[in-house]
Amino acid sequence: MLWALAPLLFLSVPLLAIVVQAMASGTLIEHLASPMVTTALGLSAVTTITTLLLSVLLGTPLAYLLARRRFPGHNLVDALVDLPIVVPPVVAGVALLTIFGRRGLLGQFLAGAGLEVAFTTLAVILAQTFVAAPFYIRAAKLGFQGVDPMLERVSTTLGVSDMATFRRITLPLALPSLLSGCVMTWARAMGEFGATIMFAGNLRGRTQTMPLAIYSALESDLGSALALAVILIIASFGILWLFRRFTVDRGNPYA
């Protein structure tokens, strides 16, 4: 059944080609040390990790609720959670401006208090969270659905508190899905561009994440842009691979 690997060529060869092209140019190492690259890399790291934490903190309770209780409007909430995934990222950026922008519904009050959200690093995190959190919530919901509620009930009848039951029964059993959701969310946040450039803008050190740096570098020289792209590809691949390496895939008990 090895022929099924064929689509992998389509997914991987273009990225590999960039890496090869950049390495062949011989200027990769000097680009690695340039301030534009290190600043963007650092900013991407900080913002995507914050986004991930926010998504997990805010998304886990929501995912658990959606998995365990059917309430009026359940399907609506489900659809709303998925909506940011479907909406074009630039539209998401405009939507965030409509709320948090200087003339926004919330933003105008925040501005009065001296808090301007647009064009800040916070805006980058908000944009990333908006587009990426739904991935975690979806995966977490599926993960919790896969845990037999009977196990939780047995635990509570044995006198274990709800919180402890969640921590010791539900969480470990749902963990593979949760971690998978974390990876998806982090990856989406890492690649986020449209909403970021719309809502947070593009300024080195403050809002210029890796994708924005690559896009900006395209204007000055392709070589710089390719070098940045290579770094992003290698860094992302490294993290994804490490994640797979250190989490045993307990997803399919029949495999």
Binding site: R102, R103, F119, G201, T207, E219, S220, N252, P253, Y254
Partner: protein, 283 residues
């Protein structure tokens, strides 16, 4: 998705059906791509002219395109508007187009150096810079000197995009005047909160009220934009005059039509349309 654990009651979609669906999609994809090429070669009555033009040319070129199509009904015009540096980059990477109109001579020179041009560039328009602020002027910017005030939110493009390069020039000229101070340019640049990729993005953010001010082309203050912004003119002695060259490309599918379009832009009616959009005529 069904797993063995949940009970495998239904047969999965037959392999034959899946192959049919795949084949149908492939066929549809192929017909989309062959349509374009088929239309160019075997249908003599439909000629598609692809124009890569600076973002600031959006309004006038669309009108020029409409007029040109009225005079030559067999021509279908397609425009790609973006920062001139980005367009030149796309052409260098193999994008196919018939005409390139840039907002500065530098990008046209780069295109020429890359062997992309089929003819010598001709200057077809000029432009000036103006300062715009949102209508309610949240940053209280009333004179050019105000741009150096700390805490303002200014939007520019990168210095590789023509309008950004012209802005740099203008700021430098201002800095040479004691009215502004020698560190004027540095102070203004310290207020920049975002570097966009083309001038229309600056217009957008100022219009939305997200930025306090931005420097754009005089032509960008369209009748539609006028009521939404305050426009502060920049005196000629500080201003940068933008020069717009146009040329036919070596990848042009219909070089004769490309030439005709350029001639039309350089003709009196064409120049009048440009003037109507607040550009400065070159002829």
């Amino acid at each position: 998705m069904l797993t063995r654990g949940e009970g495998w009651r239904h047969k999965p979609l037959g392999a034959r059906f899946q192959v049919m669906v795949f084949a149908a999609l492939l066929l549809a994809a192929c017909s989309v791509s062959t349509n374009k090429e088929g239309g160019a070669s075997d249908d003599a009555t439909s000629k598609e002219l692809t124009v890569f033009a600076a973002a600031s040319l959006t309004a006038p070129l669309e009108e020029l395109g409409r007029e040109f199509t009225r005079l030559h009904p067999s021509v279908k015009m397609t425009f790609n508007f973006a920062g001139s540096d980005r367009l030149r980059m796309q052409l260098e990477q193999g994008a196919r187009a018939d005409v390139f109109a840039s907002a500065n001579e530098l990008e046209m020179l780069k295109a020429k150096a890359g062997g992309l041009l089929a003819s010598s560039p001709q200057v077809f328009a000029r432009n000036r810079l103006v300062l715009i602020t949102p209508r309610d002027n949240p940053g209280n910017v009333n004179r050019l000197q105000d741009l150096a005030r700390s805490g303002l939110k200014l939007i520019t493009t990168g210095k590789n995009t023509p309008v950004g390069a012209y802005t740099f020039q203008a700021l430098e000229k201002m800095g040479e005047d004691p009215l502004f101070g020698a560190d004027f340019k540095e102070l203004v640049l310290a207020n920049v909160v975002s570097e966009e990729t083309n001038v229309k993005a600056i217009v957008g953010k100022v219009q939305m009220g997200e930025a306090d001010a931005g420097i754009v082309y005089a032509s960008d203050v369209t009748p539609g934009l006028k009521p939404k912004v305050e426009t502060i003119p920049i005196p000629d002695r500080y201003n940068a005059i933008a020069i717009y060259p146009i040329a036919a490309l070596s990848t042009a599918q219909f070089p004769a039509v490309a030439s005709q379009f350029i001639d039309y832009i350089l003709s009196d009616p064409g120049q009048a349309i440009l003037a109507g959009h607040n550009f400065i005529r070159s002829r």
